[in-house]
Symmetry: C2
């Protein structure tokens, strides 16, 4: 570990250049949902691996390509860096700066200098920061303390639809002692946080359109016809209302059947977490005034972390633009997702949704099942978790440990399919993922780089 | 009436030129909801009145202007021609020809040559056709058989929001013995139809957004937060489901209280109507496979014509564009309208909607009450109705008489406010109003012009 203070100094001395790389990464749009800038961004990532003396290739899949890379440092242990180069769309959002302008805003929300750009927090900031950290480690120490493999996908925001395809194909080349997902993991007050896992997810789109049951079949028609012709929108409303109750509890038969209660180890983590958990920060970060449960502390956390939810991501039908148009719409589309907790499996969830549609007489609805994947969790006592805890603690404050995050990422591919332990983390703070004015603090990016460098050494030193 | 065959011949001889005027009218976009081409279209209308030797002016209102005009023929009776120069939006619609291209399509849906263009049926085709008819009458007879006043508004598709303002201001200049709304009133098989009235309408938009009750307040946030933060979309779903039942019957307290059953005269009209009413034509015209009631004949017509409805014209919230975006939306918007039958009044309907929102605990929803207006009806035995019946019968087939149409137009301004009888009609066939590929048959436009000319004489000859 003797090189770390020199590596930190190297990061400080070169930080302007490092920040330029981060800005280059985020200025390059890479909206997988719209197919914007994907190849260009994959090339940026592949070039960054080569700059470190590694090998890289842009591997085609049935969707957007995966960037695969290797750096052989001749070290005893190998770390797989999993990252993503795609970002969320920005259409219809209201930003204070251009969403791909790479601009630094002074005193953004009392957080000091912030880079405000789509993808800076989720997840190109940490990705570019990791390349910077690796460059400083190499410059100071001459070589990396671990061998590296890189899997940087372009479809994380689409549910990692084709990552399984890549993982299956490259399985033999992906052997490593652990998977690392770089992230800015301090909250807005600087508290470091470690998430030991993720929920799984099932995306789907439900479409009701006119057909043999009634309703207009091919186009919206004059609204006055609703006096004798049925509405796909009303039918959808009455279908949706059966899926969750008025407290948003899922009302689909058997939906909670596979939901496992927190284990004893989970309860210990929750007890510890409750001591430092600040619900008001969550509310403030999200511009929300209250939670949906009249709960605090562990009971609130249990609901958040150990229960599934059925969310409506968006819906549209008929005329919703400017002006008045009296229309009886011929279709309505609803995008939804379920977040899966142990021990729910995507296939089971899909079957329950299909069964529910049959039960309520809506088997004729179109159900577009997008890709989904299961949850993934690590024990806090796993060596890789402990390496991340030691890494973040080294920056002066014990990290707050969460059994998992409510969001989703396909870590099951590493834990279940490849059989590798994984960890998520790093210093730094960012926010507004999936929202306008996504940001990260500039000082947080610097701190992240130092933590990423330190983690390599902590991981290299694991004795198992 | 001796000039009519010569007028018909004049229309035939000049029909290419007449059709050019119709195409000029419809090629000029006039989308009131989007503010496209409004002034230009008002000028076209005003110029057409002047070409006939009349006076016209473009009268500003708080919204789009009204074109007012007068033609003094020195005749004993005066007819007020009410028209509209605005059309529905076309955004997001799929057309087989450009929607403002004025193109003639051969064999459109087995109807022969059709002009396919936004507004050709609703209502610039009949408006331009009426100007053509007036020109032929003048050319053949030297002068018109009636004095004319013109009120051509630009906000019919917006619920005629500022027409009352104009009517109040111009009341003294609008005195006439009747109001005439030119329309293509044959169905797709050529059957002539007369509608004796219209339903009223109340438009509104309902918005649920996050606030003190919960939910994101300023922006959509990461969808995984729905595990502990409530969703405005789910709240809206549960509010909407209380407004109509699963059979689309309105479930708002007292909503049917003011609904009058059909009168004896209505029942007679319905009995007559049932004999020729062809429900299959309605289904075919709208690309619909069944009505929402298992009824035929008079019972179906009663539901259609004598009951209110609550329609969802459109709704949107969250991410409904391309790609997946897991989002907990901060707001959802629903555009709705109620169609009013005798004796419902707009103010009463608005109060019932507000009371319902209070009752279900949704008084914090934003309720944007757009303008609305009451129903209007004429008796079939009214002299103006009889003049229209005689006009259309003259083309070889008894018209089918409907007590009213399910759609809305602000005839109450003429019947209630100005105290004038009104009529709607004319030969010709058009369809797909408010939908893509709105059309009218070219031969129908010719027939319409002849019927409009004839109606002037029928109206001039009324003995009251």
């Amino acid at each position: 570990m003797e090189d770390l203070s020199r590596i930190d100094a190297h990061i400080d001395d070169n930080f302007d250049r490092h920040l330029d790389r981060v800005r280059t990464f985020v200025r390059q749009p890479s909206i997988s949902g719209e197919g914007v800038g994907m190849q260009e961004t994959a090339e940026l990532v592949a070039a960054s691996i080569k700059e470190l003396g590694g090998q890289s290739e842009i591997v085609p899949t049935s969707g957007w390509p995966v960037v695969y890379g290797e750096i052989d440092a001749g070290a005893p242990r190998t770390l797989l860096l999993y990252g993503m180069y795609d970002v969320q769309p920005v259409a219809g959002e209201d930003w204070i700066v251009p969403p791909f302008g790479g601009q630094i805003v002074d005193q953004f929300e009392d957080l000091g200098r912030c880079l405000v750009n789509r993808g800076i927090a989720n997840q190109k900031g940490p990705l570019a920061g990791a390349f910077n950290a690796l460059a400083s480690v190499k410059a100071v120490a001459g070589k990396l303390p671990v061998n590296l493999k890189f899997v940087v996908e372009g479809e994380e925001e689409l549910g990692s639809r084709h990552l399984p395809e890549f993982i299956t194909r490259y399985k033999d080349r992906l052997r490593a002692e652990g998977t690392y997902f770089p992230a800015f993991a301090q909250d807005r007050n600087g508290k470091p946080i470690i998430w030991l896992g993720v929920k799984g997810i099932v995306f789907f789109e439900l479409v009701c359109r006119g057909g043999n049951w009634g309703g207009p079949t091919t186009r919206g028609i004059h609204g006055s016809n609703n006096a004798w012709i049925a509405s796909p929108v009303w039918r959808m409303v009455h279908a949706l209302k059966t899926m969750v109750d008025e407290h948003e509890r899922i009302a689909i038969d058997g939906f909670y059947k596979s939901v496992a209660p927190p284990t004893d180890e989970d309860e210990k983590v929750l007890d510890q977490l409750e001591k430092t958990f600040e619900p008001d920060i969550v509310l403030k970060s999200n511009d929300v005034r209250r939670f949906k449960y009249n709960l605090r502390g562990t009971p609130l956390l249990r609901r958040f972390l150990f229960e599934p939810q059925l969310n409506i991501d968006g819906l549209a039908g008929g005329h919703y633009g400017a002006g008045t148009k009296t229309l009886l719409p011929h279709e309505v589309r609803v995008k939804m997702d379920v977040r899966l907790v142990p021990n729910m499996e995507p296939e089971e969830v899909r079957e329950r949704i299909k069964a529910h549609l049959r039960k309520i007489g809506c088997a004729d609805f179109e159900l577009h099942l997008e890709e989904g994947y299961p949850w993934a969790r690590m024990s806090p006592s796993a060596a890789i978790s402990q390496a991340m805890i030691r890494t973040m603690s080294a920056f002066g404050r014990e990290p707050e440990i969460w059994p998992n995050i409510a969001g989703s990422a396909p870590f099951y591919l590493f834990s279940r399919v490849l059989g590798q332990p994984f960890t998520i983390g790093g210093m730094g703070h960012g926010g507004r993922q999936h929202s306008p004015n996504e940001y990260a603090t500039v000082e947080g990016i610097r701190l992240f780089e130092k933590s990423a460098a330190r983690f390599l050494y902590e991981f290299a030193g694991i004795k198992e």
